[in-house]
Assembly symmetry: C3
């Protein structure tokens, strides 16, 4: 093939994806998924949130992260966006949708937190993990230890790949995890049908423990019209199964 | 191929399947699965329950639906039947088995309700959905809205396929959902070992929300000897994955 | 092929597996998995626990079973062992690890019980099943009835294969199921990070009912650093999916 874009089948809808990475990462984590989506005829943006990437400022609030995402959508004049949030980015896409719902076609939560209104992200972790956030030094930012990332989020990867992934991670503002989030408007937009949602769960994702903290609980918060889909892989399916994930994101985002 | 039947392998058992469709559909929903089962050497019946299909009477009780199934089994003098019920048909096969257990080899519940004795089908939905049934007009019958079918039952389908599927649906008697069902005999037949059961769960089936209302709870009601199997696809796996579903139904129905 | 060993890829770690069978079976149950692991360059041991196999003594305690495993590890001077326990062997590998943790690289629980300290294995079954153990005659040993094994553990097998599997089973000491197990040290070793664990769940494994008794509960007991992986197949994945299981055991056991 001589072009990275192909014309989609007549029956296939061309979508505009904005893929938002999880904590400690940048937009580059989506490279393989984005290539695959573009090959299938879709438009793809992979912004890096404020507070992420080497040298990023660490004295930011969660609202600063949201503002950087809203600004990206507005500066690129994006509309009809399938806005995908991985892991903690579920909280950023939810807050961004509150501020500018008219740009959003659908929110897609991938391996994602769906924060209860009034909670912080840290509150959504089980107690034994959330202690990590209380102890973090805001001046240093927060980066989860390798062992936890390796066992719970890279459970399907060889060690070398997990090491590469963690080595590229950088600390993020502690307040991203500890700021309490008012999501009243977000849940109202869902309840009124103005905001559509999908939840994508990689079958081997055990970054949050199954059961009380598992995907079922998180997807349920998005109400009876949330479209739920499973996909191969674990928490970093964009690294280990990018082709399959691209396909599932299309299923999650299309009309 | 010049015949739709092939001789099964010596080691493979030829089974008699009666496949019972879910709400709003007819026996035609099984066409692809039935073809595949016949190709593998099995006998297949796909009756349409009373109260289903274009122009069907809507002033029926749940017992009328059951009676139409029992009559079908008797008129065709069927025996040793693997009786498969999709979705709400779980309640019809359970009641039919109470009336004529000797014709049944095994009940197979696919994406299915297993109603607690004394409940109606509506009682087995989560509260936010069961309100739909209380508001339904018996003279009009009941048909779930497209958006709910599309997001929760066609979650793995392109829009056009979901539209085709819903366009073919027709209303069913409201009493099918609201009649209270005495299933004392059904659960006694299971407890005594006289009635064998299997439960088949498509891995992407989220027509009922995961967790409290999910397949685990429903399968558990069938007791410690229920054979549970997962299969690819979502609530309409007979439409999206007929070959795989046929294979799983054989695994569910064989000795 | 003229040799059963091949050189692993440079990037692949050669592991030493000790595969411990479940109740009523012997080390022979691992034959296909062991062949596959050896073909991939790993060392594999498949000991038979005391109290298992034709003619085995039935007047043993759970501690005798553990002692036979510890003796095997010591007599073969094994170190850096990936110690895999299937089903009830989860309890034997846990107790063995308490006695000789320095030989263990990682414990892998496959379809496995993770007994709460102070409980017996029988206590970890749902009430309707645990009654079987209370009624067992110690002089005869215990063997679960065919129907239960067929429906809940061989749910994905043809009847003939399930019959072959059950016909090869022999009774085991009743005390293996009824002895109360002090696992204080085991859970301390996990909590301190001295003992690493993985949990492997075959997706069709419903030997213990899903929900309260399911894999989620059992894996959670192993703490926030347990590496959890799903694999194809059901309770006897070593029989039905040996190649895929070997691959998953490598993922579970590697650094």
């Amino acid at each position: 093939m001589t072009t990275s874009h192909t014309v989609p089948e007549a029956s296939q809808q061309s979508l505009t994806f904005v893929l938002v990475h999880g904590a400690f990462q940048t937009g580059a984590t989506w490279d393989h998924v984005a290539s695959e989506l573009r090959r299938l005829g879709h438009l793809v943006h992979t912004p890096t949130l404020a507070g992420h990437g080497p040298g990023a400022p660490l004295n930011l609030t969660h609202a600063d992260g949201v503002a950087s995402l809203v600004a990206y959508l507005q500066q690129h004049a994006l509309s009809d966006v399938v806005l995908v949030g991985h892991s903690i980015a579920g909280s950023f896409i939810a807050k961004a949708a509150e501020q500018d719902p008219d740009r959003i076609k659908r929110l897609v939560f991938l391996s994602s937190f769906t924060v209860s209104s009034g909670n912080s992200l840290a509150d959504e972790f089980p107690p034994e993990t959330s202690a990590v956030f209380a102890m973090a030094d805001p001046a240093q930012g927060l980066l989860l230890p390798f062992e936890l990332i390796r066992e719970r989020a890279c459970n399907d990867m060889p060690l070398a790949d997990a090491e590469t992934l963690h080595a590229a991670m950088t600390p993020v503002p502690v307040a991203y995890f500890t700021d309490k989030l008012d999501l009243t408007t977000f849940y109202e937009l869902i309840g009124s049908g103005k905001l559509k949602t999908s939840y994508v769960n990689p079958v081997n994702d055990i970054a949050l423990p199954p059961g009380e903290y598992g995907w079922e609980t998180r997807a349920q918060r998005l109400g009876p019209l949330c479209r739920i889909l499973h996909t191969p892989g674990a928490h970093y399916a964009m690294t280990t199964q990018p082709t399959e994930l691209a396909d599932t994101l299309i299923q999650a985002g299309r009309d």
